[in-house]
């Protein structure tokens, strides 16, 4: 297009064009920064077997390496506890697949809890969290329980004191800044919880001999006894798979491509209900329905050989005893406070009808359960305690 202009008109035209160009460029750059830079660059790759679906991650807390790094420091940070001597890792120790080797956990005030600390193995895939809370589905919410819970007291976080400590630390200032680059004042509880949740989500374990056999097609990864044990485990005879089935050995699991099914909680016949004894009522505490008394979520059996003692209250010491418990279809306690026959609990699962195993079959089952141990998981330096914070 030819434009015939005098000098003034031309200058005005150029000025207007330049202002227009400037405004357009400003708008384009603003939009670029708004959309491209407002979110941390996705920098997370799940360590999963081929074709595995990743876990569900809440939209307001996408995974990033920076958040996982910060979460790892916080997970091992004793300043998060009231007594300054406990961290998340006190009850969730890597060597025990992020469970602990005691029946009942002890909180910051010395209070003994009424439940066994669950393993954090693949917690990202849990349909719900803790032993019996069907609506508690987000790690970001669950983490508030150990931090602030008072029945029982767990970590007893002093928010003001802890935030002051984190703010005076050069390392934490850098870690929070890297994890939440768009937050001008990133050191606060919400970001801390998001980072902790990201670290816990990163605790993925799919490298046991079973996984190598099942998902990588390595026929030599399991020996004959382990395969016989697996066959028994997944048979109608033992019915283990009804509660501990699926890729995560718990039907209470979900992933990005799964459908939202009903929650699975089960009464295993551990105790006989007696009015005079205060039992842990499990799902009943949430639903207040009689049928839910004594029902608990089946935890994953991944790394189960590392997480003794067992059951929601840590009342069974070894895997051998757990097998005997299920073979008997529940437990009869002959004396003491909890004396009674749990096998006749009216809410006991239909699948717990008991079974008979020969000694060889029992050893096969145990061999299989040990084949669910992921050594790489408990030795992975990315999950271990970081260096001392200065």
């Amino acid at each position: 297009m030819v434009v015939n202009l005098n000098t003034f008109t031309y200058a005005r035209h150029v000025f207007v064009m330049r202002v227009g160009t400037f405004i357009r460029a400003t708008v384009v750059f603003s939009l670029f920064f708004l959309f491209a830079c407002s979110k941390p660059t996705p920098s997370w790759e799940w360590d999963l077997p081929p074709d595995f679906n990743p876990p569900i991650v809440p939209a307001d807390n996408p995974m990033s390496k920076q958040k996982v790094d910060l979460g790892r420091y916080l997970f091992y940070e004793k300043a998060l506890s009231g007594n300054g001597e406990q961290s998340c890792a006190t009850c969730h120790q890597q060597q025990y697949a992020f469970a602990e080797n005691r029946g009942l956990s002890i909180g910051s005030t010395g209070e003994v809890h009424h439940r066994n600390a669950l393993s954090l193995t693949n917690a990202a895939y849990n349909k719900s969290l803790t032993w019996a809370q069907p609506e508690l589905k987000l790690l970001e919410r669950q983490i508030l329980i150990p931090l602030f819970g008072d029945q029982p007291v767990e970590m007893q976080l002093n928010q003001q004191k802890t935030l002051a400590y984190l703010k005076q630390s050069q390392l934490y200032r850098e870690l929070f800044q890297a994890a939440f680059p768009n937050d001008p004042d990133p050191i606060h509880l919400d970001n801390g919880v998001k980072a902790l949740a990201s670290f816990v989500r990163s605790l993925i374990s799919f490298n046991s001999p079973f996984d190598r056999y099942a998902w990588y097609g390595e026929d030599a990864a399991l020996n004959e006894a382990e395969i016989r044990g697996m066959t028994l485990f997944m048979s109608e005879r033992t019915e283990c798979r009804h509660c501990h089935g699926g890729f995560n050995f718990s039907l209470s699991s979900t992933h990005l491509n799964s459908v939202e099914g009903p929650e699975d909680f089960h009464n295993t016949g551990l105790y006989n209900p007696r009015n005079e004894v205060k039992l842990d009522l499990g799902l009943f505490e949430f639903s207040l329905q009689e049928k839910d008394k004594g029902r608990f979520r089946p935890p994953t059996l991944r790394n189960i050989a590392l997480t003794a003692p067992y059951m929601h209250d840590g009342s069974i010491a070894t895997l051998e005893e757990v097998l005997e418990f299920y073979a008997a279809g529940g437990r009869e306690i002959s004396e003491g406070l909890y004396a009674g026959d749990g096998r006749s609990h009216p809410n006991k699962s239909l699948f717990l009808h008991g079974f008979v195993l020969s000694e060889e079959e029992k050893q096969d089952m145990l061999a299989f359960l040990h084949a669910l141990t992921d050594r790489q998981f408990i030795q992975n330096p990315a999950f271990s305690a970081p260096g001392k914070v200065k």
């Binding site: 697996m230 066959t231 009216p346």
Partner: protein, 283 residues
């Protein structure tokens, strides 16, 4: 705020005739627009309700206060007036893909429809049929790649056995019972390896309902889970009854399997599955 008083032609801050006229016209316009909107919404809802499909329903039960039923429906077809079989597809939905649909019924959700993708309007049919179960090529696929509706962990057994085709969980009084039906006698080196040969007892049930007079395919086909039939067996039921796999080992489980018309040894219906009593069509 305006006060509606008798118009005297003089008073200020009172509604004039012109204003009243405008207001009235506005109200009419609003009324017409909202009526049109309501009509549209109702029409959409009516269409949704009238979408052709298989509507599965829980029948009434005298004994079972709590019922959970879940099952796969596949290989859907209709019979034309000459008796020739034509395959049908399900609409794509959260519970279905073209070849297969999953129905989940409970006391809280006593009916569910699997919508049909009809080839063209106006077919007259003399019969309708489907298979209760998962087709063999889908039953033993790599479970981690399973697409809907096969991505439901509560319906999955193992890679070797595949899926539970039918899952009935019942409770009434002090009695509780469960029937989980799927393929049995499946051979492979391990439960996490698919079988190369068909399972010894496929345990799929073929249903067909034939009509004396031709009916329009574009319809809602009501199929009821016949709980009254299960009621008849209630007295014979023990306090805890679990039927999952070893059906032939238990008299009660065997009776249930036979109620589907299945032969326990072969896991197939004898000549056809017409003797089944668990599902019935309400025409």
């Amino acid at each position: 705020m305006y006060q509606f008083q008798k118009y005297d032609g003089m008073t200020k801050n009172k509604v004039s005739f012109g204003q009243l006229k405008t207001l009235t016209i506005g109200l009419f316009v609003c009324l017409i627009v909202s009526t049109a909107y309501v009509e549209r919404v109702f029409a959409e809802e009516s269409n949704a309700q009238l979408s052709p499909g298989l509507q599965f329903m829980l029948g009434a039960s005298e004994h079972y206060a709590q019922v959970g039923a879940a099952f796969y429906v596949s290989e859907l077809y209709y019979l034309d007036q000459a008796g020739k079989q034509h395959s049908l597809k399900f609409e794509d939905s959260p519970n279905s893909q073209a070849r297969i649909g999953l129905v989940k019924l409970s006391n809280e959700n006593a009916a569910q429809t699997l919508a049909l993708a009809l080839p063209a309007a106006g077919q007259l049919i003399k019969g309708l049929g489907f298979t209760l179960g998962v087709p063999r090529d889908l039953n033993h696929g790599y479970p981690l790649r399973a697409e809907k509706p096969l991505n439901d962990a509560t319906m999955f057994w193992t890679w070797q056995q595949g899926y539970k085709f039918l899952r009935l969980d019942l409770a009434g009084g002090d009695k509780r019972a469960a029937l989980h039906l799927g393929a049995t006698g499946c051979e492979s080196p391990a439960p996490v390896r698919p079988p190369q040969k068909p399972c010894a007892q496929p345990n799929r049930v073929d249903f067909v309902w034939k009509f004396d007079t031709a009916r329009e395919l574009k319809n809602i086909w009501n199929i009821e889970l016949n709980l009254a039939y299960l009621d008849e067996q209630f007295d014979a039921l023990g306090d805890f009854q679990m039927c999952s796999g070893f059906y032939a080992n238990d008299t009660f489980c065997a009776a249930w399997i036979e109620s589907l018309g299945l032969d326990l040894e072969r896991g197939q219906c004898q000549s056809s599955c017409k003797h089944q009593q668990l599902f019935r069509m309400r025409l």
